[in-house]
């Protein structure tokens, strides 16, 4: 099996958010958020549309400026930067061949081109993209694109992987495939933080849940507790599939 976590000796975790606020043109879109991501497992970020799931993931990953409070890793930011990955809701495909796309993070980290490509081919095959190695990435199907995104995110062996609704546009089979790959990554020691709308998927994967509402963390805790005994009426409604304000 491919090694999804490269540096198991130390870790950039825990990740700590203290009163973190995201603003756009001076208007707060999320926060203040207090949250810690530690240890192993999979955190599922839940919440209705516009509740701030994407913003939370981007804040954690450093794609969204922290305007107040802080987002800190156990190691300095420069090290943390290269030991985390992100899978976007709509896949970003570079204008390269599949193998070169997957190899790109390795090349950025200084691996010689040939070696990086060889490793990328191995990964592509493992992720079911063996037949598409020399295809331009932008022509792949939606499911293939997400698999490429996942391979590209994991090949660098990150300590933590963020995913923003990675299965939103996929059918049942493709979703299953992604989930299998994620389970393997988690078993390999990669911490996973993922947002989803799919309650079934949340139940299957979650070891911990963060329930967002109105740009704030409304409720958080172990998955079992959240699904079996939600503490707030909003969480109850959300789990039941009712509309939540």
């Amino acid at each position: 099996m491919l090694q999804t976590r490269l540096a198991p000796a130390d870790s950039i975790l825990p990740l700590t958010l203290t009163g973190a606020v995201a603003k756009v043109y001076g208007k707060t879109i999320a926060g203040p958020i207090d949250l810690q991501v530690t240890g192993h497992g999979t955190t599922i970020v839940l919440g209705p549309n516009g509740s701030g799931k994407t913003t939370l993931l981007r804040l954690m990953h450093g794609l969204q400026r922290v305007r107040k409070g802080s987002v800190t890793w156990a190691l300095p930011d420069t090290q943390a930067r290269l030991r985390q990955s992100y899978v976007f809701q709509s896949p970003i495909m570079m204008r390269r061949r599949v193998a070169d796309s997957i190899a790109y993070p390795l090349i950025l980290r200084g691996m010689p081109r040939k070696q990086a490509r060889a490793k990328a081919i191995e990964w592509a095959q493992e992720f079911g993209l063996g037949a598409a190695l020399d295809r331009p990435a932008p022509v792949l199907s939606g499911g293939e694109k997400q698999k490429l995104s996942l391979a590209r995110a994991l090949i660098s062996g990150p300590d933590i992987l963020f995913l923003d609704e990675p299965c939103a546009n996929l059918d049942g089979r493709a979703t299953r495939e992604i989930e299998t790959l994620l389970a393997r990554a988690q078993a390999g020691g990669t911490r996973i933080v993922m947002s989803t709308h799919d309650m079934g998927q949340a139940r299957r994967l979650a070891s911990e849940v963060v329930f967002m509402l109105g740009g704030k963390v409304h409720e958080t805790g172990p998955a079992q507790d959240f699904f079996n005994g939600p503490k707030t009426p909003q969480a109850v409604a959300f789990i039941n599939g009712d509309i939540v304000e």
Binding site: M94, Y104, P136, V139
Partner: protein
């Protein structure tokens, strides 16, 4: 003997004939002129690209105080009349100018310098626009993957290479057909700084329209040939996606 229309048509036909004659006789003067045209403009394109492409990308990924102003100036310079550039370079390279001691005036080097100045804003502007679109697409990914500034520029230039080739070819087009600047700084000296455009201008001045047209057709043929060659080498037409 009024023959407007007919006479002119005749001259165009004669021009085609002249072009064919020049090409098939492998006229040594023509080869020299064509060689110098290519040498000057291709060198200028390579130099302007080496500066303009990274500059365009750099302007996209960096925010700084005078960024907007820089871009506006760059865009405006695209319309710079070559004669003005020629005059400027002339005054700089003139024996009485600041760089007179280099003795570069009326040499191909002077022509290359002038053409770099003419082509650079064009290549930088087009590449800036191209790369801005690509950056909008790649922004989150490249930040997420932890690419350094240099790596970002390299990725944008490499992945945008086919569009950037268009920028380079636009620069080539502007350069190879340019006459105002190279006439002033090159001097159109026979066997030394004469290129296709200055030769055309000279022959037109002598009223040798057919011959001038002939050279014009050679110029068009040359431009088409270079474009075809580059497109073939880069397989632009075959890769449908980018």
């Amino acid at each position: 003997m009024k023959c407007w229309g007919f006479c002119r048509m005749n001259e165009i036909t004669q021009g085609l004939y002249e072009a064919a004659r020049l090409i098939f006789s492998l006229d040594s003067d023509l080869l020299e002129i064509v060689g110098l045209s290519l040498r000057v403009t291709l060198t200028a394109v390579v130099i302007a690209s080496a500066i303009g492409l990274p500059l365009g990308a750099w302007l996209v990924i960096n925010r700084f105080r005078f960024r907007r102003a820089t871009i506006a100036v760059m865009n405006a310079l695209m319309g710079l009349p070559p004669v003005v550039v020629g005059l400027l370079v002339y005054m700089l390279l003139s024996r009485s100018g600041p760089f007179g001691v280099l003795d570069l005036l009326f040499t191909p080097t002077a022509m290359i310098i002038a053409q770099v100045i003419i082509i650079l804003p064009l290549i930088a502007s087009i590449s800036h626009q191209t790369i801005r679109d690509l950056w909008a697409e790649y922004h989150d990914l490249l930040i997420s993957l932890g690419a350094s500034r240099r790596q970002r520029i390299m990725a944008l230039l490499w992945d945008g290479r086919r569009a950037l080739l268009t920028a380079m070819l636009a620069g080539f087009g502007r350069g190879i057909g340019e006459v105002g600047a190279i006439m002033i700084v090159g001097g159109n000296i026979d066997h030394s700084t004469r290129v296709l455009t200055t030769a055309i201008s000279l022959e037109t001045g002598k009223g040798n329209f057919a011959f001038a047209m002939g050279l014009g057709f050679v110029l068009i043929g040359l431009a088409v040939a270079v474009n075809l060659l580059i497109h073939t080498l880069s397989r632009t037409e075959r890769a449908s996606v980018w």
